[in-house]
Symmetry: C2
Subunit: 899 residues, 2 copies
């Protein structure tokens, strides 16, 4: 028979699946001999069993009763006993900590009989007993039975009001509280239709069922979807003998961290609230004291607590977050877990613990979160700033930003265009705001969560953002907003902090990111510490990773930046920009408009020397490292004016009878119409262009090889990889190579040079290419997965157009995750796996990489490692992230590191 | 060691791979004891060996010499002998008959010495000998050495001219011919730079090498690409002892078919040319006589030939095509093969042979070509018509058509719009002509082959077409064309015959297709025969096929038509048209423009009763058979005006200061702009619409279920399958079903009905859906492969846009075949296989079909059979084709049937 209930002495910290995080850690601490109250845990299996059949699974009631009797025996007290009653708390605890689930009911076991017993046991402290009973009814009613919280609070407020205008709840005496108890009991009956349960076992059954059911509550389900936690884990229920922090000034309750979770410093950190129970801290009724105050109040307990903290940190080998209660000078530990920390904190702690010998190199590597590494590169509000926030929202995208408030995307773009720094303030954003968002220093919204459109775009673009700051009331017509009494008008300067979610009026001083400052030698002690941590842990990542990391870079500047950040080559050098710019537009139009091959060739002859210079700069910057150049990819109409605008311009000129330049415009419009495509994404682009306009790719190859020869002649070491985009069939690549390789050879002969490294390959960015990769590999030296387009074609999602439904898709979990951020393993990932395996089987020398934006996403980097790619290529500012993620992938599961 | 040479007595008809078609059949006839001249065959392996090393493979020369000596021994004559020389013909023969390859060199072995011997052996017939020598030099020069044919022909014409104005070559005497020989020899030397080879063995070597090399000639290669014949087969070379049809009036040569290849009738058919060699028949220098004339000229040989024909037909169990020569009253058979025949002929022959007991049911089934079945349904020119063609082109798309000539697509559309029947006449067509092509009765081009744009579109649309009629000279400016002296102006009526490629002036009488006439009871004996054949063979196909055949039909009329043609259900009922039409456009706009859910619901309430009526008609027509209804698929902007046109209209109105209705147009333009998509193919459509506009699909489901209940109440048997399009993830389908199934249940309860057959499924038309089909199948009752979209997304080809490069892609073989016509097996086919296997594994009750246009393509039907689908669905006019192909797939390889 399934064992559904475990005494704390029967479990350990590795049993989180069964006992939940809280239960497993309570068990662990029990075994360690720490002062944990006695208790037992109903397992997650019990929860799933209950949810599955809608009733307690067979045997569970008996088993729970057995443990309860044992607990009574251990404690020498009995539930409901009128002389010496046992009281317990009921605490939920899933494997992962989860807001939205029912949390805790304290003081369970009280009724009119045991109330007397409690008073008796506390030296006839009737006030304490009544206060405890009042709290229990309130908490049970609210949490277990969904009685509206206000009902109880109004009654409490009324009771206090009877005492005087500024009365606290501590001003209520035993009689006041007795009256309140009676009021609460009738509130309870009124809202639930039943009298308050007097049988402690019935109380426990109801509370336990409520915990079980809360697993499927809407907020819990939403949270799991958001955080990709499986729905079939269930929650455990802990039944813990009560200890009381509300028994006077020698009692209290608090939270402690073994190190500072914000800075990572090795100092104890926390809060303490004397004469209180845990829910008082949460409710924020009274202000807590800094933990250090406890040393003054109760030095013995404080010393004992420090000892416990040390023991726990050594045992868990990580920073721990501890809940404790002191009952009449006796310390009790009620919970511990690995503490959450800031991105800065995690680097400092990982490095310190490594130095302290607490953890090994690889563990330190796994202790930092690659997803948050970018935060270290973001600007922060100077620590010297003293302003008070006018509002606080969600920290939706890290970094601090300051600028003038504007209220529409068009204004943002217009103001930015004339050199102003702006913060775009909106209720929420839509895809139509995109142009204004990317023109802004920061984004502030009054609605929407951390996965709202504004948040997603901001993070994607690296723009600081605060979202859902609901204190902000926007007056769109008046171009202003107010927040807690402060009014901000268009053009007024504000500052937002994407780390804390805070919003300030005025221009607060910003500082470069700690890492940038450290790198430029301009560091304080703290920054030096983060820099050391960064260097050491990144070195480890570089030592262990199997994946190489390249960057997507199109210019010498980007290439140099990427190299400085540790890029080991360019995985994608796009050549589109080489067809743009004033001096080139004429030649490009000539190329598009050419009626004869000779005219077309003339255009290429003009472009050739310009593009050669472009490549020379890139090969110089990347000397000694491979550069993958992608031949022209986008459809030609991207180099011509917008169809609708031009058609309107021509028609209006005609209507007005203006003929100046009209013929030329008409000719242009004819060409634009001719080149217009219904679905340009699936049209005449990529290798198809190369086939239809053979001179085009030949010119590019000539420019590439010329440039490489030049750099080589200077003493450089160009390593050239020529990439043909959008290949669907082997024949496309074979025929293009057949055409282009002689061009390259001719140039090499002409320059009397040879290149050590000249390879030809293709992007795998179409599903057909993926499933026929075995054939294609026969004529390719390398593959580079173009996961942007592969995701577009596999899902049939146009990135340009999904704005209208993607938010709903993410929210309703219609896609496993945003497939443009993280590689969709079952679909796109499977295509990649097929292509990798069959490509390698057909051509063992094939080398493989990825150059879609996924190359900079940690989860996708792990996938690339698993699939066995040779490298990832990402935008320059993601190079460190990719290096770190690649190292973590090599060492072990990234998942354990991100918890 | 490889055996490279086979005597005719060593082979048989099943050795076509090695001996080629001609050699294998010569060997077969030799074994059968038919009067075949002696000879031997150099194998296809010899050819490949030669092409591989650029020289004769080791041992081949010796082996050929050995066989040659044996032939000389058998014949008692020696090559080049001055008294009794052996002459031979060299005949190429690949596995498949292939135009463009070198064909035949006759009379090989002649030089000045053997010329004398030939004269001696023929009773001093010097004229015959000289004529034979002159023919040899001419043929050898032209075919083996590429001397321009005109050079010889001019000399021959000059010689004839010297004899008089109307002289025939038979008017040249021995001396004339001797002079001509000398002229030919010098023409040869002049063009080749070498004297004519006098060594017969050198002649033979050169001729053999020329045959080998012609395998890789451009025309042969093109032909193979076009006809999907492998490049690595090679051709065999046959060396055959000469017999002479040019030895006087008791000699001659001819071609005979064992049955009439045009009508299929069981009567001998063919041509005979007295006193001639084979090339005279081919060259058409003199008019041939009908074969029956031979009975009068040489009754003995005729009788013998009939006997041979009977023997061959019984032996090959099929209609044979025979080349024969009579030399001085002695019949020789030079070649036989299975004869080509018309689409009509093949049905009649298959049926007759089945009735005669010559072949079994399944063989008869495989004898007809599913690709050509449509021809039986096409209109033909009445047999009573007597007009003379003014030009002849390629029979690019079957059927006859008559109409007024127009010279541009716009005119075609405009004329058709006002009720005129037109034939579109173009040099060639481009994608921009599409709208005019589909408005035309027929298409006539002066350039382009059977795979030109015009031909492909015409066949796809079922429009008769004659292409590449190069006698037609178009004067675009003058809106006319001339052909062989006849001028046709715009509006003049012409008639084209897509069966024969002929073009006529005037309106020729057309007749319904033989099958349509037979079906309507209005048949002649011939039509009755085809009808019988059709019924019997189709019955067999229906008996044996495992694949069910459904039709894609959107209206009751289409449904009824499909059912009459044997469709077993509707595999795709599109619902787009239910949102079109004047009475609906208002409601549809309201649906799109709605600001509130209430407004939107109002629109649905208007559409509901109209769409219910649409479905009632369809369910009535298909009572008892399944109907798969696809919920709305296209993006909403398809129901609004064109963006460019509307923007121009608004801008022009503004420029002109016209304000009437402008506000409304502006509002419309705003909405059009808002809904505009960069890549609508990959945008907000299919299930995404259903998710974003939940009321839309709910309304459709309500209309479907209401209609089904109505039909059921009438006593009908509606079988409903509701299909959600464009699903990429399991969640999309799961959530849509979760939303829509309650709607269906509610309607059923409301109508107090239940349905025997109500299923929910999806199209598999995205690569991600295919590779995650195992997941999707968990929530689907059926899959239908939407291979149009699957091909678009797998290849990244937009069907709307590939016009600019697809012709080049087909020509350069960059795609295996047009993937929109025949399922691309390695890519799209593999995705289908994955989805089928994994879908069935996850849900054994899943049923699967295909509803892309591939469902009516015979090769794709075979693939669907192999993959194990349950049904194919195609346009109504392809239902018989699909039934036939499905039957053939079940019985065996379709390939053998289509040769």
């Amino acid at each position: 028979m399934t064992k559904y209930v475990y005494d704390f002495s029967e479990g350990n910290k590795d049993m989180k699946d069964l006992l939940g995080g809280k239960g497993a850690n309570l068990a662990e601490m029990t075994i360690m001999g720490l002062p944990v109250p006695h208790g037992f845990t109903l397992t997650t299996q019990a929860c799933l069993g209950y949810l599955g059949r809608g009733d307690w699974p067979e045997g569970l009631i008996d088993e729970a009763e057995e443990h309860l009797v044992r607990l009574e025996h251990t404690m020498g007290k009995t539930l409901g006993d009128p002389t010496d009653p046992l009281l317990v708390s009921i605490r939920s605890g899933a494997k992962f900590s989860m807001p939205g689930m029912m949390d805790t009911v304290l003081n369970l076991g009280l009724n009119e009989d045991s109330l007397k017993g409690l008073a008796l046991q506390t030296g006839d402290d009737i006030r304490f007993a009544n206060d405890t009973y009042r709290r229990f009814i309130q908490m049970f009613g609210k949490i277990v039975m969904n009685v509206p919280a206000e009902a109880f609070e109004h009654a409490l407020d009324a009771a206090k009001a009877r005492e005087g205008p500024n009365a606290q709840d501590t001003d209520l005496d035993a009689d006041d509280l007795r009256r309140l108890i009676d009021e609460f009991l009738s509130i309870y009956e009124q809202h639930t239709g039943s009298p308050f349960p007097t049988d402690p076992r019935a109380q426990m059954r109801l509370a336990t069922e409520a915990v079980f059911r809360s697993w499927n509550g809407k907020r819990a389900v939403d949270y799991r979807r958001q955080n990709k936690i499986a729905d079939d884990l269930g929650t455990a229920v802990n039944v813990v003998a009560m200890v009381f922090g509300n028994r006077g000034d020698d009692s209290g309750t608090g939270v402690a961290f073994t190190r500072d979770p914000a800075t990572g410093e090795r100092v104890p950190y926390g809060d303490y609230l004397p004469n209180a129970q845990g829910e008082d801290v949460v409710a924020g009724i009274r202000n807590t004291l800094p933990l250090a105050e406890l040393q003054r109040i109760d030095p013995v307990s404080y010393g004992e607590l420090l000892q416990v903290m040390h023991t726990l940190e050594m045992h868990y080998r990580d920073m721990c977050d501890i809940e404790f209660t002191i009952e009449k000078g006796k310390l009790w530990i009620l919970q511990t877990r690995i503490g959450k920390r800031t991105a800065f904190g995690e680097w400092v702690m990982a490095f310190d613990m490594l130095e302290e010998g607490l953890i090994a190199d690889d563990e330190a590597l796994l202790r930092v979160d690659a997803n948050r590494l970018e935060e270290l590169f973001k600007r922060v509000i100077s620590s010297s700033a003293t302003a008070r926030a006018i509002a606080r929202g969600l920290n939706a995208s890290p970094g601090a930003a300051t600028g003038k408030a504007v209220f529409s995307a068009d204004e943002a773009e217009a103001w930015a265009h004339r050199g102003e720094r702006v913060i775009l303030v909106r209720r929420e954003t839509t895809p139509d705001d995109y142009h204004g968002m990317i023109a802004s220093q920061g984004i502030l919204t009054s609605a929407g969560g951390t996965n709202s459109h504004a948040a997603v775009v901001a993070r994607g673009e690296g723009i600081p953002a605060v979202c859902g700051a609901d204190a902000i009331k926007i007056d769109l017509a008046g171009k202003s907003f107010s927040a807690n009494g402060t009014r901000v008008r268009e053009g007024d300067v504000i500052t937002i902090d994407g780390f804390s979610g805070k919003v300030y009026v005025g221009r607060l001083p910003l500082e470069e990111s700690v890492l940038e400052k450290a790198r430029s030698g301009d560091e304080t002690a703290r920054e030096e510490m983060i820099w050391k941590a960064f260097e050491r842990i990144m070195r480890r990542a570089d030592e262990v990773r199997r994946l190489r990391v390249r960057a997507n870079a199109d210019t010498p500047e980007q290439a140099a930046n990427a190299r400085e950040r540790g890029a080991e080559g360019i995985g994608l050098c796009r050549t589109e920009h080489m067809f743009l710019g004033e001096e080139r537009v004429e030649a490009v139009r000539q190329m598009i408009f050419a009626d004869t091959p000779a005219e077309e060739q003339e255009a290429y002859d003009k472009l050739l020397p310009l593009q050669r210079e472009d490549f020379v700069g890139i090969f110089r910057a990347m000397s000694g490292l491979p550069v993958t150049v992608r031949l022209l990819d986008p459809p030609l109409h991207e180099f011509l004016p917008n169809q609708v605008e031009l058609a309107v311009e021509v028609a209006v000129a005609e209507a007005r009878g203006k003929s100046g330049g009209l013929d030329e415009k008409r000719a242009l419009l004819r060409k634009v119409n001719e080149l217009h495509e219904t679905n340009p994404m699936l049209g005449l682009r990529g290798v198809r262009l190369g086939i239809v306009k053979p001179g085009l790719y030949a010119m590019q190859v000539q420019a590439i090889i010329d440039a490489a020869c030049r750099v080589k002649a200077e003493g450089g070491d160009p390593q050239v990889e020529i990439m043909i985009p959008l290949v669907a069939t082997k024949e496309e690549l074979r025929q293009m190579r057949e055409e282009l390789e002689p061009v390259a050879r001719r140039e090499l002969d002409h320059e009397r040079q040879w290149l050590d490294h000249l390879e030809w390959g293709t992007m795998i960015e179409l599903p057909r290419a993926a499933v026929t990769a075995g054939e294609i590999a026969e004529v390719a030296d390398f593959f580079s997965f173009g996961t942007n387009d592969l995701t577009q074609t596999a899902f049939g999602f146009s990135r340009d157009d999904i704005g209208k439904f993607v938010a709903m898709y993410e929210e309703r979990k219609l896609v496993p995750a945003n497939p443009f951020v993280t590689v969709d393993r079952p679909g796109v990932g499977r295509l990649m796996r097929i292509a990798t395996e069959e490509g390698r089987a057909a051509n063992p020398n094939l080398h493989l990489g990825i150059c879609g934006e996924h190359g900079g996403d940690p989860a996708s980097v792990v996938f690339c490692h698993e699939v066995g790619l040779d490298y990832v290529s990402c935008s320059p500012f993601r190079v460190e992230t990719a290096r770190l993620a690649a190292g973590q992938a090599a060492v072990g599961s990234l998942e354990s590191a991100s918890k």
